[in-house]
Subunit: 344 residues, 4 copies
């Protein structure tokens, strides 16, 4: 069975494991106060062109979303997000468990617009009974989105302007950030992400690490006492250097970008094959997640040899499914899949 | 100015105030452990034909929703509700502040159906990743709804059957219950409400009391230790007898139903006048809230003399507005409003 | 049975009830946005010599503590309080339910000192692992304390200085504030309370009102968006004018102080009688709560005719009990109790 | 510098790293639904002689405590713990962040007794106002405690009996469980831990793993829907097999016990040296944490070459400090430290 279900099927990039082995018996201080974490943070600041940013290393995505959001909001505030946003759908109520409502905006492609945020904000404050409703306190976006789509620099910049105007911190979930930055046709760089958000994170779990997410606060007023919150959320890894080693490795010699680019390249090969085959695409994704719409007759055949995700029934005879590539995807497996699709 | 903005403009039914004055210097134990509360609870049980029910008296509606819901749910569970449900819109995130997501179902008229609940439930459990999503743990409905609409006995019974089938406690918010029970054409009685829900509350604040909501648990397994939760939510009134006196009065000689019927009668006079005038009705309400759609040209004229709520712009020239009647509405004021509408 | 168990046995001062009856059919806007609330707030500001203060009217004490504290603290912070503080003992975990730890300081008399706060603060920040511990974020005191004791102006001022020094908002729970301000020998005035705290509340429930607590923020930066929090905590009374009417009445013609003084006078008569009888006093209280230590042989006799609270076993043969007087205590009942004690 | 500050200074046992490397490119399902996790769980059940137990693998200790406790308690309940318990002191309010108070019992040695729990329970329920106080809902102990001390089988069994009697689930924090089970003189086995608790966890982070804690529910009624809670707490590792591989390795060929025994042996060498030197011992620990009381004059000298923790000032001239050994401690370093102590 060749698996494309998700982007966390394998372990870590070998250079990460090698470094873990090499440093295994070093003694370092716990809780990310070691030289590896320092070095990783420095490299991340450099890569993001954000020399003043406050960087923290956490273990997982839900944890990171939850810790960041609960650090920013006061109790009566909520986080604006796309209806399909990960925090609204797939975190088992982690945000609500910290007392905050997710304020969902409709979205076809997983993205939200500056205009939507502005309208929501004005609608809230324009209502005489606004004190009876959850106050919008920040904006959450994901890039790439859960559907593999990407903001353009213009869209991101417009969102950020509206957020600034209304004092709504803008938080970008970059669980798959590398796959976004390396995508064909994108004009958004890591430095843009840093410039047009108040806080974002760089996903490691899905991009080459065993686990780990690097949170970057470009607005340092939002990260006051953040380490207390990390600890409270059970996100302060005792052997914090494991996070440092991983991000230091990923941000050495451009490794993070290189392995992301590989995943995107594999995804584009798949996309091309789907299109050539006449499959529709559920979302217009240029990143590592591809959502072809497949005749149900083809489904069973594919299942024999390949792992993928059921996404949704599209019509009586067609189903959207999801294939993920990753830093670890082998080109030979992609080629095999393509051949088998062609043969269907 | 004659006000119809809401159903809590005045104080309380005079017989309630009289009894408060009469008993003012009696000394009674605090926290609703007094004979007035006992008597009130007994009368409520009798009225609801629920001799085994566990009844508690709280101060306000948001408080009651929040205390009941947080008593029932485990941390990973949420409450299914109509998108327009009070807990989803107008409680400043009170439910989320206790850690729970509201799981909204679409609804045009403020009601949800047994089929919707069943579909949501099955869709949750049918999803392989259901552990990543908030688990539906109960169902919340309001009767009358926020739009003045009512469930039929058949609809309520069907909802309850589905809830039973899936072990989802059904909670009915009766902030305006009296106005529902006395509405023209309804076939739902207080006993039906008790029979077809696991817990519901009888609104006092909007129906004749200074304040107060009576929660009735017909499923007593849901109210274990409920007084701790009342206290924790700041809802345990020190001078609890004030709640007892009010509900005891309301449930003596059918007062609650009589004053509710008055409000409904006043509302129906308004409804008739709106229809006669050719106004559309935003919702098909037979209870104390009426939502006529009025030409904007009429709005300013009405505003000079009457208070009402802006509801929503319906089209370029028309606006839906809300008029509320209540136990305290004077017929002469209703007649005056009707005359002025006719004259527009 | 003559009851002294607590200070919320009766209803309200008759002038309050009278005014409720008189205004019963007036129509006013809900949620404390009515002229009665405005007037009450203005009078409170004047009485406290705090013309700029932000005043809010809530229903009960637990609710008020919980709403104020959760408004002030960030998620990783806790409230320093005496071990015996109401929030640490008798609120069913209301503070913890909002996510915050109460940080208890030892105390014999219910009070805490500036030195204790300073030491706790420094001990926290001096610990290398402080990020693993709850950060002290504010200080909570009660005046009178749960034991009837009082801060002197010097003690209060010293506490406030330390709080200012370390940016810890100082919150004073004045559930029985009147009884403190009118106590024999105190040098603390309402204006002092306002001057030496950042936020405090004036108890109505225990001092002449049916219910109600008036929160006074002298530091307005702490009350930003406070009405959202009131709503979220289920503490926004629909018929808010009931709170306005009560506090407006209490703060007209010095009524609050007069009825408080009466309760204190009655308490001092009792205290004198206890001392004369040779009873020890568990706490040195000059306010409306008195804690005599009584030979167990006297207990049963007293119980036949009087209600009071068991406090604690002091030794094999003696028990501390609590008598409360209030605005409603009749002098004839106090005299009767004194005679019966003399006769024991 | 030779470090003894804590037991998480190094990486992981080499056999764990080797297996991670060996399996790195295998594709497995995420979220601990892989064969490695299954195998690890099976071995843990066998080792604990608890064939029916429900086992879950989480990342860290604070996370585990918080997830387990919030799964068990209802909102008005708290967890009884020693004053010095990790959840009461060193988790930045994680337990309170889920809404629950820690109910601290005094303790000199980090342990609590069956009698204390019984007294607390009865005192709560015997109080007329118990509904105003947090209800004890479970008992938390650590073994070894934060002070390195251990329960005897008799003590643990007595605690469990009381807990059973009062329906208080007993939860044992075994962050350092291995070091407890292998300690000189203990009569408590892994099977005893399983038999005399309702849920416990086996620490990996401090005992040979990179990270990871294995929670064992012997009372399966406490783990219903536990995976939702793991996810909600951000504790569901995407590449869950990393946890499986680690625990599977630790519980193969008795590795967990062997490396724990090594740490204890190293600790006992230190203990012996301290005693021989005439140092007092702050706690009577036979596990991997040792707390000698050292003349301040010796402190600076030791600091030049060794890392250890300041614990507390004991008197004017003496300080208690903490040395930790671990699975990774090299005997040559222990010997060097002993020689240097002898030479002081």
């Amino acid at each position: 069975m060749i698996c494309f279900q998700c982007d966390y099927l394998e372990g870590a990039h070998p250079s990460i494991l090698k470094r873990m082995v090499d440093t295994n018996f070093e003694q370092t201080q716990g809780y990310s106060e070691d030289p590896y974490c320092e070095s990783a943070k420095e490299k991340i600041r450099a890569c993001a062109n954000a020399p003043e940013a406050d960087v923290h290393l956490l273990v997982g995505g839900t944890q990171t979303n939850c810790t960041v959001i609960s650090s920013i909001l006061r109790p009566h505030q909520g986080a604006i997000a796309a209806m399909s946003g990960h925090i609204n759908v797939h975190e088992s109520g982690a945000i609500e468990s910290t007392g905050h409502k997710v304020l969902p905006l409709s979205s076809e492609d997983g993205k939200i617009t500056a205009a939507q945020v502005e309208e929501y904000y004005n609608s809230h404050w324009g209502d005489e009974t606004h004190e009876h409703m959850v106050q919008p306190g920040m904006v959450y976006i994901s890039h790439p989105t859960e559907f593999g789509t990407l903001y353009t620099k213009e869209e991101l910049s417009a969102l950020y302007s509206v957020c600034k105007k209304y004092h709504l911190p803008l938080f970008l979930d970059g669980a798959r950030l590398g796959y976004g930055l390396m995508a064909e046709g994108t004009d958004v760089t890591m430095a843009d992400v840093a410039a047009f958000t108040d806080v974002f994170y760089i996903g490691g779990t899905k991009v080459g690490a065993l686990f780990g997410e690097a949170v970057v606060f470009t607005d340092r007023s939002l990260s006051v006492d953040f380490r207390y919150l990390i600890k409270q959320h059970g996100a302060l890894l005792a052997k914090g250097r494991l996070l440092g080693i991983q991000f230091d490795t990923l941000f050495t010699d451009n490794l993070y970008m290189q392995i992301s680019a590989h995943a995107d390249k594999m995804a584009m090969k798949l996309r091309e094959a789907f299109v050539k085959k006449g499959y529709g695409l559920r979302y217009d994704s240029y990143t590592n997640q591809q959502f072809p719409i497949i005749p149900d007759a083809h489904l069973d055949k594919l299942k024999e040899k390949y792992g993928f995700c059921f996404w949704e029934k599209v019509d009586e005879d067609h189903t959207a499914i999801r294939f993920c590539t990753s830093w670890a995807t082998k080109e030979e497996n992609v080629d095999s899949l393509i051949r088998d699709i062609e043969a269907l």
